[in-house]
Amino acid sequence: MANGRLRVDWPVCRARGLCFELLPEAIELDEWGYPVVTGEITPELTGAARAAVRGCPRMALRLVQT
């Protein structure tokens, strides 16, 4: 399975930070609390990435194929 990539719908994101709590392996937060995607989503991380996508209260995160 190929690696996936997380994309943020920036105008929708309100820095709630749940994505970081659910997926610290691939997401950090900047000084204002907005996500910094730090890497691609490997097959091992896909389950956690999907949980982060579902967990965003703003529905501002998407997992796309690279």
């Binding site: 719908d9 920036w10 105008p11 900047d30 204002w32 907005y34 910094v36 998407r62 796309v64």
Partner: protein
Amino acid sequence: MSTDTLRTAEVTVVRGPRLLSAIGGGPSLAAHRALHGSPGRTRLATLLADLERIDLRGRGGAGFPFARKLASTAQARGRATVVVNVSEGEPPSSKDAALATTAPHLILDGAMIAAEALKTRRIHLVVPDNERAVRDAMATAVAERAGERVSWAVHRADDVFVAGQASAVVELMSGRPNRPVTTWQPAAVRGYQGRPTLLSNAETYAQLALLTLHGPDAYVAHGTAAEPGTTLLTVHDGGGRRVVEVELASPWYDVLALEDLGRPVLLGGYHGTWAAAGELRALTVSRVGLAAAGLTLGAGVVLVPDCCPLTFASAVASYLAGESAGRCGPCFNGLPALAAALERVVAGRGGIAEAERLCALVERRGACAHPDGTARMVRSALERFPDEVDRHARGGCSYPRDGRGG
């Protein structure tokens, strides 16, 4: 009025070989037809082959091949829409305004040629709300074409920097605020009403018209084999603001005075890159040659500031921070922080590390390219003027005119 230049209160338009050849004849449809004739029937395959031969590029920072954009639009599912952006959100750019007021029918011919190739009759024009001369010129030109079997829709773009970003234009057309949103596919595939949308700026459509009206051989008679044709530039120097049309690969001393070639120049506008003093002497108006030197032509703004380039870059960064649409967190938080970091560099109260860190932090983290463009301009200033950064760090400045003392 001289026949070689057209002056308005703000901008001088200089007669050029192709796009700006109509100055003096007036902008009417009759004058346009007398000069250029009428386009024949257009087949998509022929048009794509001709476009690849002349290597027509869009005027965004990336210089995207227009042939590829047209092919993507043609291949995507659904009836296509043609969108002509005649609105320049960038205050120092006047090239599309110059085209609209001197040769509006070149723009409209290009749009009709694209529409015919895409088998659509719907063309949208986006005009600047704050420039009445441009709005009136396009409205008059559209009215002259009342008999043609095309429906024209005209939209007024807001007077803000990011209003011209592709997704912001599609939002405007859809009746929503004229601001960028996240797109998951290019407009060519999924744009206005979810349908394939060919969206380019006025100059690109005018070039398409010239290609069809006069043929590819006439197009490649200007420029070089590698980069044929001409391009529009808006030049700001001691002589004020002027729009010129130059052949691609022209030396920069055809565009700027020798004295100005010895000064720092901001190329490509507020999202552009800085050429160090004297750097342009050995370069040409070539997308490829400039890219090799780490420079970009962007939408063709050439600005020679009358003050310290670092101070000017800082002022531009502050302006750009204020032009954030305020929608994307990394942009509305990051750009003011970046502008403040650059102000501290200029005031000798901070190093460049924080500004560089913030550049990296905002890049690729927005719905549009505004943070990326801002970071590009700031990075370029820090990279091109290390001596000036040092002088400011010691409380000095080599440009006495901005009042800092030499």
